[in-house]
């Protein structure tokens, strides 16, 4: 069983197998389930992601509070009919990521990757690059297993909980996972995957969890957008041969220590940061009325 990224890389070298395959084999070993069962379970996750993206892009999704919905659709429309400045692949990934999180905020069905608040990044990137890299279903599943392998290391050595480690633990982790998986999908080496993860996570360090009214909406949806965009940039950097000076495991360790030193007001309590701005407070009062006073 790999406990960190360097052990994961050693296993890929020793067995001459991609990260996704090492993850699948470990899963067989740990759970005693057959390869077929494990693949079938991941297929269900993939299908859930696909449906959530589709719903968010095509339907007029609105959250229960009314704070979010429709931005993924808006960006997809702009991408199709406007004159976008950024690259198509990146913008489509961003639109997909927002769409997924908007469905999540509307209490729709999503697949957590690694959490619900950060559920947009991994599928956003995967379906964003689909037209360019044309992955087979097997490759799409491999993308999810590789994402999972890096998330697994973060969860066991740091945290994937906003309440424990801030948004860097959620969207930050998701961004690193997606970047690493994208490198594998694009034909990069396991080492390059680790560099992509490190580069992505470095740029998310210190990101606080400060949801307005305590809802997984503002700023979560747009942070997923930023995560999807950064994941593609980090993957391209790693594929170009750029390396992270700080090894991936040490970046993860730094993320953990930063999370521990974040004040409670910036760890998913809805008490600091954007949640505590005049507009944040106003929105909170409008949503919860008198009861907001009691909660906070």
């Amino acid at each position: 069983m790999f406990r960190n990224v360097s052990e994961l890389l050693e296993l890929t070298e020793k067995h001459n197998k991609p990260i996704s395959e090492i993850m699948i084999e470990q899963e067989i070993d740990v759970t005693g389930r057959s390869r077929e069962e494990i693949i079938a379970k991941m297929q269900l996750n993939l299908k859930t992601m696909e449906e959530a993206v589709k719903r968010g892009i095509e339907e007029d999704v609105v959250s229960v509070s009314g704070l979010t919905g429709g931005d993924g659709k808006k960006l997809a429309h702009y991408l199709k009919y406007g004159n976008p400045i950024g690259g198509d692949t990146t913008l489509l990934a961003v639109a997909n990521a927002m769409a997924t999180n908007e469905v999540n905020a509307a209490m729709g069905i999503i697949c957590a990757t690694p959490t619900a608040g950060s559920a947009g990044v991994v599928p956003g990137v995967l379906f964003g690059v689909e037209h360019k890299l044309k992955p087979t279903e097997e490759q799409k599943l491999a993308f999810l297993f590789t994402s999972g392998a890096f998330g697994f290391v973060v969860a066991n050595n740091a945290s994937i909980s906003g309440a424990a480690g801030g948004c860097q633990a959620e969207v930050g982790s998701a961004t690193g996972m997606a970047a690493a998986a994208l490198v594998e999908l694009a034909g990069g080496s396991p080492k390059q995957s680790a560099h992509a993860m490190a580069i992505a996570l470095k740029n998310m360090l210190g990101l606080v969890c400060d949801p307005v009214a305590g809802l997984v909406e503002v700023p979560c949806v747009k942070r997923n957008a930023a995560g999807a965009s950064l994941a593609i940039t980090a993957a391209d950097m790693a594929l170009a041969g750029i390396e992270s000076r700080i090894p991936c495991d040490e970046v993860i360790e730094a993320m953990y220590r930063i999370g521990q030193t974040l004040p409670e007001s910036l760890r998913e309590t809805g008490e600091g940061g954007l949640a505590a701005t005049p507009t944040g407070r106003k929105l909170e009062a409008a949503i919860f009325g008198q009861k907001a006073e009691k909660i906070n």
Binding site: M1, M42, I109, T113, T115, G162, G270
Partner: protein
């Protein structure tokens, strides 16, 4: 290693908006329901830390109630759990508590039916994964991710051996086992995580062993 499987990271498939505050909360509720064994007449839910502060926005309350009604994390009935609780004649009260040391996302669930009382403390540790840290006053560590057998027994010589012998006879492999007690010689709790699902006959056989007070099970 807190996380063992890739599906703790890619998954669960769930109703939004929060894996820790919605999916994890639903799982804590479901473990409570499984161990209690039936719909309670009354449920007192105590929320601590971030759960207390943000439960309305995250649907933590409806998620726990959904779990108590035996719903999975992806069951769309969670959204209207208050209505379904009413239909099931389950009276629910929410209590907002202060901060708690070990983890910000903590819920205590007290269930009542007739003269039966039950208490469980669960923590949502991220990504929908949970730990049960207290059961009827016993401290324990239970993930709810594996099939498990919970045995309440008198703290006497040979009880643990008798239980493990019986499991060996049924070819049940023990993955993780913990014993805790409140006081020496009094009641104790055995938590046994196993690899395969536990059938009713085994539960019955275990409960017929000497000094065993109560046996319940959790399925994967």
């Amino acid at each position: 290693m807190k996380y063992r499987t890739v599906f703790d990271i890619i998954g669960p498939v769930m109703i939004g908006p929060s894996s820790s505050h919605t999916a994890g909360a639903a799982r804590i509720g479901k473990v409570a329901r499984t161990l209690f064994g039936e719909v309670p007449d009354k449920a007192d839910l105590y929320f601590y830390g971030s759960f207390a502060k943000t439960y309305k926005g995250h649907g933590t309350d409806v998620a726990v109630i959904g779990g108590l009604l035996d719903y999975n994390t992806n069951d769309e009935r969670i959204r209207d759990a208050y209505r379904y609780a009413k239909e099931a004649a389950m009276d629910v009260s929410i209590h907002e508590e202060g901060a708690i040391d070990h983890h910000p996302n903590t819920a205590k669930i007290k269930l009542y039916k007739g003269n039966r009382e039950f208490e469980l403390v669960g923590v949502s540790i991220g990504g929908g994964k949970i730990e049960i840290i207290e059961l009827n006053g016993f401290e324990l560590r239970l993930s709810g991710n594996h099939p498990a057998i919970l045995v309440v027994h008198q703290d006497r010589y040979g009880v643990i051996a008798a239980v493990s012998n019986l499991l060996a006879k049924y070819q049940m492999n023990i993955g993780h086992m913990e014993v805790s007690r409140k006081e020496k010689g009094e009641q104790a709790l055995m938590v046994i995580e196993v690899d395969q699902n536990v059938d009713e006959f085994l539960v019955q056989s275990l409960s017929e062993l000497p000094h065993i007070l109560h046996v319940s099970k959790i399925h994967d």
